[in-house]
């Protein structure tokens, strides 16, 4: 039988498209390469337990029933589904044999970010030395976690070693029926991460995908599941600041977070997928479904994201605040340049009494790009004394870009408070001149001002990540003036 929560979750999910929770792009009809056999084959190749195959098949069958979303504007060519291989390729062929063959502009960026050579190769798709595979830091790291009982592994590994946990939590926050891309992901997901922090444990270190970037090629349909039991705490870092090239144009990831009583999960992302060239050609379409549930009382989930990459980003990390006194947070910086389009924001669904949420969104548009914030705050009947505060600031660099804010507010309980503040500003000539008068060139000036604008959010990132993110913003600003 469906619980009230299940219904609530489903209800939310299917509304996504209706509410216009989409970036407008044109889609192809059903992919040729995908059939029930493909799904079975993926599962078989991965030697998955029966229940996972079932999950995939249900998702696939549901996906078949979903209508292709109708997109109003078409700024991008159609996604070529025929080009997609739905198999989780065992190990990808290296694209290049040495760094000499890689685009020098990309290498220049790596250098500026201070990325070690071996890692540069990895990111650019160059064959990597075996040495890198067995970095000792990874081993040390795993030992420390094991001691505490924390599970941090690839999703596939977890499916074998902890099937009961996967079975219990997979799809419990983002059901396969959630939306078009979530259904697709559920049917064909390649791999991803699994994190489990047992009751009362404070995870001793930041968990970063970086540590297992080489362990598995997660591919374009990534699946992440994070569970924090009662009183547990974990901080998880996704992505890396280096622009990652990938021949896969479509990325449709799903992230699910579960926080039980008094648990806290911090999820930080730096997304810098290849945005394409100046005309947006070759960029990645990044359609992500991220959602967490504060299941227990006094639980807390925070999303912090710095989004600079991808040609199109469609992403609304959300929190379902079911527990009484639970807390949801969303801190976001989204930068778009050239022809990039970002449509990102959050949803805070208040169900528990005295639940609180905070939304801080900073959108920066440069060039001819478009940056939209889309946020929904819902206060359900049961959510006595719920509170939300939202702040959405947009900064425009130049005259040809756009910033849009779409707040949706839905209050069913009159004891709730919802505050929304929004500002749009331009970098003033005065500010640039002031910086120049102190010796900074125009680009440095813009980058400084932009970093200042985004500071409130950058401060929420873990230390090392914050420093990298600042550099990344500076690099993204290059060529934005003059």
């Amino acid at each position: 039988m469906k619980t009230e929560d299940d219904i609530m979750i489903e209800d939310l999910s299917s509304k996504e498209y209706e509410a216009g929770f989409v970036t407008e792009i044109e889609m192809d009809i059903l992919p040729k390469g995908l059939s029930e056999d493909t799904v079975r084959e993926i599962s078989r190749l991965k030697k998955e337990p029966e229940f996972l195959l079932e999950f995939r098949l249900k998702a696939y069958r549901h996906w078949l029933t979903l209508k292709e979303p109708k997109w109003a504007h078409v700024h991008y060519p159609a996604i070529d589904y025929q080009d997609i291989s739905y198999f989780a390729a065992p190990k990808k062929q290296a694209k290049y044999n040495s760094l000499d063959e890689v685009d020098p502009a990309l290498l220049e960026t790596y250098k500026k970010l201070g990325i070690p050579l071996e890692e540069q190769k990895l990111l650019a798709g160059v064959a990597v030395d075996a040495v890198f595979d067995s970095v000792s830091v990874v081993t040390t790291f795993k030992e420390a976690l094991k001691e505490k009982g924390v599970i941090f592994s690839s999703f596939s590994e977890a499916a074998h070693e902890h099937p009961e946990l996967i079975r219990k939590y997979l799809g419990s926050v983002v059901p396969y029926s959630d939306n078009y891309f979530a259904a697709l992901n559920s049917a064909v997901f390649s791999d991803g991460s699994f994190v489990f922090v047992p009751k009362g444990v404070r995870c001793p270190m930041e968990l970063s995908t970086y540590f297992r970037i080489n362990a598995s090629n997660t591919g374009q349909f990534e699946r992440t599941l994070i569970v924090a039991e009662e009183g547990a705490y974990v901080s998880y870092l996704e992505g890396c600041t280096a622009p990652q090239r990938d021949e896969n144009q479509l990325h449709a990831a799903v992230v699910e977070i579960v926080a039980l009583d008094n648990a806290e999960v911090k999820y930080s992302t730096v997304q810098n997928w290849y945005p394409g060239d100046k005309d947006g050609k070759g960029g990645i379409y990044n359609f992500v479904t991220k959602r967490g549930i504060c299941k227990g009382h006094h639980s807390k989930i925070s999303w912090t994201q710095v989004e600079t990459g991808s040609a199109i980003t469609w992403k609304y990390p959300s929190v379902i605040l079911r527990g009484d006194y639970s807390v949801g947070e969303f801190y976001s910086v989204a930068v778009t340049n050239h022809r990039q389009q970002a449509d990102t924001g959050t949803k805070m669904i208040h169900i528990g009494k005295h639940s609180r949420s905070t939304i801080v969104s900073k959108g920066i548009s440069i060039g001819q790009s478009n940056n939209s914030y889309r946020g929904q705050v819902k206060i359900a009947k049961s959510a006595e004394h719920a509170r939300n505060f939202s702040q959405c600031d947009s900064l425009l660099v130049g005259n040809r870009c756009g910033a849009h804010t779409f707040p949706y507010i839905d209050i069913e309980n009159s004891t709730g408070t919802v505050e929304h503040e929004a500002t749009t500003s331009k970098i003033a000539e005065d500010q640039i001149f002031y910086c120049q008068q102190r010796g900074l060139d125009q680009e440095q000036a813009v980058s400084l001002i932009v970093n200042g604008f985004a500071k409130e959010v950058l401060n929420k990132l873990p230390m090392e990540f914050a420093v990298e993110a600042q550099k990344l913003l500076a690099i993204t600003m290059e060529g934005s003036v003059g």
Binding site: A428, E429, D430, Q431, F433, Y434, C435, Q436, Q437, R438, G439, L440, D441, Q442, Q444, A445, L448, I449, N451, G452, F453, A454, K455, E456
Partner: protein
């Protein structure tokens, strides 16, 4: 230091500087006075390289180079500093980070290595003392929420950090209380050497009691209409501008 010849500049269709001549040598202090709207801030902005103004005629030589050929940031790194009449706010950028970036740019230009964090903090501390600036201000965002007087102090603090060859102070005295005025003037005097120069734009003789000028010029309608020694300022204080303008 700087030689300005027949400088004409306009904004939009409006000509504001109408053939201005001025020479400032190393070691000198020049005061520029003149009624509101006479073009004092415009002169400062044009020298600093603000793009809104179009220079239509004239030349400016700064330390042997053609100043008008340089971008604003280049002029700064070459040693020209402007203490703004109305300093702007830059939200989210701490004074510390701002100065770090500025000092770095200046040192790079001179071919010097970047200061270590420790050296930089020591430098900040030393210069803050010079203008008696509250330590807390440097943790705050550039000029954001600063009082009028604090903003002015902050300009002189930045000047101290960058040690310019030529400093132009545009009404740095306005908004300062009596004590702050003395402190700021003291600071400016301490920064004075025989190798640098200062142009002080002011309406009040009072400041010139502290920063004693070698020359006083009266700017009117885009031209310097009278120059003299420091006694000219006293005379202006007494008589106003009318006697000069007619």
């Amino acid at each position: 230091m700087i030689t300005i010849k027949n400088l004409k500049a306009k904004i939009g269709d409006k000509e504001i500087l109408k053939g201005l001549n001025l020479e400032v040598k190393a070691g000198e202090v020049h005061a520029i006075m003149g009624p509101n709207g006479s073009g004092k801030s415009t002169l400062a902005s044009v020298l600093a390289g603000r793009e809104d103004y179009e220079v239509t005629e004239g030349e400016v030589e700064f330390l042997g180079k053609d100043l008008l050929e340089m971008e604003a940031d280049e002029r700064s790194r070459e040693g020209l500093f402007l203490a703004f009449q109305y300093p702007v706010e830059i939200p989210g950028v701490s004074m510390t980070n701002f100065m770090k970036a500025a000092v770095k740019a200046h040192r790079e230009h001179k071919g010097l290595p970047e200061l270590t964090a420790k050296e930089f903090l020591a430098l900040m501390k030393e210069k803050k003392q010079l203008v008696n600036m509250d330590t807390q201000l440097s943790q705050r965002s550039v000029n954001e929420g600063f009082s009028g007087g604090e903003k002015k102090k902050n300009e002189v603090y930045q000047m101290a950090m960058l040690e310019p060859k030529l400093a132009i102070l545009d009404e740095t005295d306005s908004g300062l209380d009596i004590d702050a005025l003395r402190v700021v003037a003291d600071g400016v005097n301490k920064l004075k050497t025989k190798d640098n120069a200062t142009i002080v734009i002011t309406h009040y003789q009072r400041l010139l009691d502290y920063i004693v000028p070698d020359f006083v010029h009266v700017l009117h309608n885009g031209r310097i209409v009278k120059s003299g020694g420091k006694e000219l300022a006293l005379e202006l204080e007494e008589k106003g501008y009318d006697w000069l303008l007619n």
